[in-house]
């Protein structure tokens, strides 16, 4: 039920946001939808604790909402309002929620793979058993960062789970056009790092695979590479004409839509009645509508915010002329 509710929230939030982008121009810049990949967020949430950090790339709406960054502050961020989760300074690609251990959406492909290992380093250093979930795409798997950080993380047994969300495309480039190695989880072999390949359309599969890796990391066993096979229904970003794949391919994946599958499980097993599902849907519609109202009514950041949040040092002498 939690899975269904969370995935619906992410999906409905993004559908609404995309409409506000396309129809009303209220949202600008790059906008990368998570639609189709929601089961990853759902499964990872139930396999972890609030103290565990999540860090990802620019396709960050789903994981931010999952961690508990509120729909209101996410929508306001998309609008560029002062009440956004990054005060309107980040936009779609750069959601943050440090209080709920969401360590951001990052724009430079591959960069957060290393930063995520750093979050894990800090936990190990402090002696906690918290772990870091570090998400990246199949395209990012080809960055040099991967080799350096896999090696470091394995050598130092950092409590990090490297999660490659393999949606088969990096913009218009399919996985097989970027490497001989199309099974990305095998890249762990070079470092003798444990690895797993998981069906990303199934919340159960994500949950189980993640739980194993999280347990190992908590117990000092070090990193795991998990390749999650998933699919993005939408283009790379809103402006992508998607000439590199067929409509049929997209439809095939939609047959295994994670939300429909979870719903089927719920209804087949009488975990909930249709009325209860309807009530959830209604609640989510209300949350999403409220987020729009909140964003619309929120103020813009004031112009003097330009020079704020640049240094922690409040007396920094900016050049203003």
């Amino acid at each position: 039920m939690y899975w269904y509710e969370l995935m619906q929230l992410i999906r409905q939030f993004e559908i609404m946001a995309e409409e506000k982008y396309k129809m009303e121009g209220k949202i600008r810049g790059f906008f990368h939808a998570y639609v189709g990949q929601e089961a990853i967020a759902a499964g990872c949430m139930t396999a972890t604790r609030p103290e565990d950090a999540f860090i990802t790339a620019y396709r960050d709406h789903g994981l931010a909402l999952a961690k508990g960054v509120t729909a209101n502050s996410c929508m306001a961020e998309l609008y560029g309002k002062a009440t956004g989760c990054a005060k309107g300074k980040g936009g779609s690609m750069h959601f943050f929620g440090k209080d709920v251990n969401f360590w951001g959406g990052h724009g430079i492909v591959g960069a957060q793979i290393g930063t995520g290992a750093g979050l894990a380093f800090a936990e190990k250093y402090k002696g906690t058993d918290n772990v870091s979930l570090t998400f990246f795409g199949d395209g990012a798997a080809r960055q040099g960062m991967v080799n350096e950080v896999f090696n470091i993380a394995m050598t130092w047994k950092l409590p990090v789970i490297f999660i490659c969300e393999n949606n088969n495309y990096a913009m218009g480039t399919s996985v097989e056009r970027t490497s001989n190695v199309v099974d990305i989880y095998k890249m762990a072999d070079a470092f003798e790092m444990p690895a797993d390949s998981i069906d990303g359309m199934s919340c159960e599969a994500v949950h189980e695979g993640m739980a194993r890796a999280v347990k190992r990391a908590r117990e000092g066993g070090g990193p795991t590479l998990i390749e999650i096979k998933t699919y993005r229904y939408k283009g790379h970003s809103i402006s992508d004409p998607q000439k590199y794949r067929t409509k049929e391919e997209v439809e095939t994946y939609k047959q295994r839509d994670p939300i429909h599958m979870v719903l089927k499980t719920i209804l087949d097993n009488n975990f909930a009645t249709q009325e209860e599902i309807d009530a959830i849907n209604k609640r989510i519609d209300a949350i999403v509508d409220e987020s729009v109202r909140f964003a619309e009514e929120s103020p813009w950041p004031s112009d003097d915010e330009v020079l704020k949040d640049v240094y922690v040092d409040q007396n920094y002498p900016f050049i203003v002329d």
């Binding site: 218009g172 480039t173 970027t178 330009v306 900016f318 203003v320 002329d321």
Partner: protein
């Protein structure tokens, strides 16, 4: 005869013409081939030249830049497209420590004829990591040349020059928001030497210098000032390294005032260097301090009003010019 074409087509023509002439020239980068370019600069080039010469790379900036640099040293003439210059920083080691230094380190044996190109600077509300303007970073590096054109005509001539005649690494900076801009280009082949500024508008009272998309701000300000009886001369640097300060100096000798419009951050910017040069060589000609307008001293935030507040614009440029004119506002 002349034609009106978009900036992106001008670049495409430059690359295609030189690739037809010289089979050592090839194009490499992310999404340049099958996707026809993230910003469609290389549209159709895969069809014409094939996968051997229009090459899609993995997202591995350090790796493919290194491969291209090695290929250039060994006799090829690569064009490397960075999807944007923001991502080229991953390859900075190869550009700074290999491409720019190998001629010196090898005592003149190993040169690196290569063109690095891509969009630079801000392009609306893309957030901090997709909005940096990089001219001064690379302009600081001996061994490199840095070109940053403002229109398709210049872009084509400079790009052809870079590919065909330059034996040194060229950093070629474009802009997402200029790719659709139209300009007139002649049917006949032409080249524009690197290192020459262009006086875009003659004027008497003040010299405004800019380059790349900030030329629109400079020209817009000049138009506004004209209405108020102030005659601005506007210069497009086109090339940042080498820097054609002589053309600026000649103008300042006439106008006695200089305002620079720059999209980069203020500290150690191109305007800093130009201001130094002009005060040194033209001290006696200046009737007012050299002034500049740059981006705010901060990463570019996402919100539309913060973008507008951070970047140079026409009204603020007009005000600054009036300041150096000691005119009443």
């Amino acid at each position: 005869m002349a034609r009106i074409i978009a900036f992106r087509e001008a670049l495409r023509e430059a690359m295609s013409e030189e690739m037809r002439r010289d089979d050592r020239v090839f194009l490499m980068g992310e999404e340049v081939a099958e996707y026809n370019g993230a910003y469609k600069v290389s549209q159709g080039m895969l069809d014409e030249f094939g996968a051997k010469r229009v090459i899609d790379t993995p997202i591995s900036e350090l790796g493919f830049t290194a491969v291209a640099v090695g290929a250039a040293q060994k006799g090829l003439r690569p064009i490397v497209e960075f999807m944007t210059w923001n991502f080229a920083v991953l390859a900075l080691d190869q550009i700074l420590n290999t491409a720019s230094k190998m001629l010196a380190m090898s005592g003149g044996q190993v040169s690196c004829p290569i063109v690095f190109r891509g969009p630079n600077g801000s392009a609306g509300q893309l957030g901090a990591q997709h909005s940096t303007a990089f001219e001064s970073y690379y302009a600081n590096i001996p061994g490199l040349k840095v070109v940053s054109p403002s229109n398709g005509y210049d872009a084509k001539g400079l790009m052809k020059q870079a590919i065909r005649f330059e034996e040194d690494p060229i950093m070629f900076m474009e802009s997402e928001v200029m790719y659709g801009d139209k300009s007139e280009v002649p049917d006949d082949e032409y080249y524009i030497p690197i290192g020459l500024a262009d006086v875009k508008k003659q004027g008497r009272d003040v010299t405004i210098v800019s380059w790349n998309k900030m030329m629109k701000v400079a020209m817009g300000a000049a138009t506004e000032l004209e209405k108020e009886g102030i005659s601005a001369e506007v210069i497009d640097l086109r090339s940042i390294r080498p820097l054609d300060w002589m053309t600026v100096l000649e103008s300042v000798k006439k106008t006695n005032r200089l305002v620079i419009v720059e999209e980069q951050w203020p500290m150690c910017g191109v305007s800093s260097e130009l201001a130094y040069r002009i005060q040194k060589e033209g001290f006696d000609y200046l009737d007012a301090p050299v002034r500049r307008i740059t981006a705010a001293d901060a990463p570019l935030h996402y919100a539309p009003n913060l973008v507008a507040a951070a970047l140079p614009d026409v009204p603020r440029t007009v005000t600054l010019v009036k300041d150096v004119m000691y005119a009443k506002k």
